[in-house]
Amino acid sequence: MRPVFGIAGYVLREAISRKFILAFLVGITLVLAVVAMSLRLDVIDGALAASRLFGNELRSSIQSVDVALRPVYQGAAFIVFYGGILFGIVACSDFAPGLMSPGRIEHLLALPIQRWQLMAGTFLGVMTLALGGTLYGTTGLVVIFGVKAGYWTAGPLIAGLMACVGFAAVYAVMLTTATLVRSAALCAAAGFALLVGGIVAGHRQDISTFFEEGVSRTLFMAVTVMLPRLSALAEAAGHISASTPLEVRSLGTLLLGVFVFGLGALAVGFWRFEGKDY
């Protein structure tokens, strides 16, 4: 496994040297700092009596802290899920094509590492980056609201981890695309297409009513059944973050579906990469 971690470290070092990823981390820090310094919450006996943002009072009825913070945590979960995946698609689109560029891939393949280790290391490096960024943002949010309101929950952290699971499936497709075509733009396009497809797949039952019964509806259902239900995962993450009941029948099945899809996409990429000449 040492070469896998070596390649992951290579990817992370490459990522850290990029200004826009550093800017993203600085941006998260600034948002958290602004929230921490500008938001004031008055909590009396576990109820949110008053809240001020930049000194202006936010009108709301007195309610318990956990109920009052639900929309905040749910909104944050959606931002982390969709915003994080979108940023990940853009920021990580050229990692794999960069590693597979002429002059670099020959050098890497001539080193004593297996091809699958190169792929696995790239995937691990990108996922470490995604996980680090997500945990940094969500932990900061939980700590700020925990300190200010005295309400501590692991919901946003779990929601962040679920966003990482969704991104893993998306990046698996991007990595596989890189083994077929060495293009950052096409990798990003493939990731974006899967995100849209995943949103559609999450609402496939509702959307299918727009298709006429018969071949078209069957075809739509057949195509979308193979895609990961990313929007359903995002909604589940929102519910977990807000500590509200889940609407999906089985979170385990949902996660398993996303996991299997990502694994399948990676398997295709590994197979293609093993037999490719550079």
Binding site: G9, L109, A110, P112, D277, Y278
Partner: protein
């Protein structure tokens, strides 16, 4: 056991939706002895890069067998003993050279050795540029850094694709010295360079590749040596017609003549005849060719073009 042993190596690059592909190697057979400095030369498109990639496992051959250091190039234990410098090494611009070498050390499975990495940078002439990011390096400096990466871990086999590309003449001398040191250490050097003078100076064996096949291979001195033709230079005032009667053909420069002699006896007999005419010998050498002439002659003979 040879360092590289390739038998009937064929490689065809197939393209999707096409029945025929591009044939890069057409049954190439080559043996590179251990400890030798071996040069591979040939025209563009001869298959040199495909061959190098094949022996490193970067390209998978269509047919044939490859043994490198007694094993398969797919074996990571074999690749751990190889140092490779690709033709156009793409380096991470935002990194420091020490970080790059540290990563290569890690990926080669070697123990971390920051002091050793610094010594290696000094060895390739980058001692003054250790604190500069790779993005600020010139082409020649990048090439030196690539060479440093290839030399890490004292590899048994060094495969260098255009190692002196972009390096100034003084730098080339330094690189040549390093390569000679490596060969003296016992490493096998496999060099692909368009700079034939470079190959001629560094290598003791050469193979000429044309149209995907080895068309000539052997010791450098055998390839560049003329078979029975000698160059003799006489002191001024020779009697050219009498020398011509003695079998000497006037060369381009004043006092320079060519003579055919298949053995030492015939050569000395010819020289005795020349001296009998009053000619005074000041220089005698075999009428050899440089590597460029050998390459051109070989490739033209192969393609049927008159030299």
């Amino acid at each position: 056991m040879p360092a590289i042993e390739v038998t009937d190596l064929r490689k065809t690059y197939h393209r999707p939706f096409r029945k025929t592909g591009n044939i890069a190697l057409r049954g190439m057979t080559l043996t590179v002895p251990r400890g030798s400095a071996f040069g591979l030369i040939g025209p563009n498109g001869a298959g040199k890069t495909t061959f190098i990639k094949s022996i490193l496992g970067i390209v998978q051959p269509s047919h044939g067998t490859i043994r490198v250091l007694g094993g398969s190039p797919e074996d990571t234990a074999v690749r751990a003993r190889i140092g490779y410098l690709p033709e156009r090494l793409h380096l991470p611009n935002a990194w420091l050279p020490t970080a790059f070498l540290g990563t290569v050390v890690q990926l080669k499975g070697l123990p971390p050795d920051p002091a050793g990495n610094l010594r290696m940078l000094e060895r390739v002439g980058l001692g003054d540029a250790v604190t500069r990011k790779i993005g600020g390096y010139s082409k020649g400096m990048r090439q030196r850094l690539g060479l440093a990466a290839a030399l890490l871990g004292k590899p048994d086999l060094l495969i260098l694709d255009e190692p002196t590309d972009g390096i100034d003449p003084m730098g080339r001398m330094e690189v040549r010295r390093i390569l000679q040191e490596e060969v003296q250490r016992g490493a096998t050097l496999f060099l692909n360079s368009h700079l034939l003078a470079e190959t001629e100076r560094v290598c003791d064996r050469v193979a000429i590749l044309a149209d995907g096949q080895v068309v000539r291979e052997g010791r450098m001195e055998d390839l560049v040596r003329g078979d029975s033709r000698w160059v003799a230079r006489f002191a001024p005032g020779v009697d050219a017609p009498r020398l011509a009667e003695a079998g000497f053909v006037a060369g381009g420069a004043d006092g320079v003549f060519h003579v055919e002699a298949t053995d030492p006896g015939a050569l000395n007999a010819a020289l005795d005849r020349a001296r009998a005419t009053g000619a005074l010998l000041v220089e005698l050498r075999r009428d050899g060719m440089d590597l460029e002439s050998v390459l051109l002659g070989t490739v033209r003979a192969r393609t049927g073009v008159a030299a």
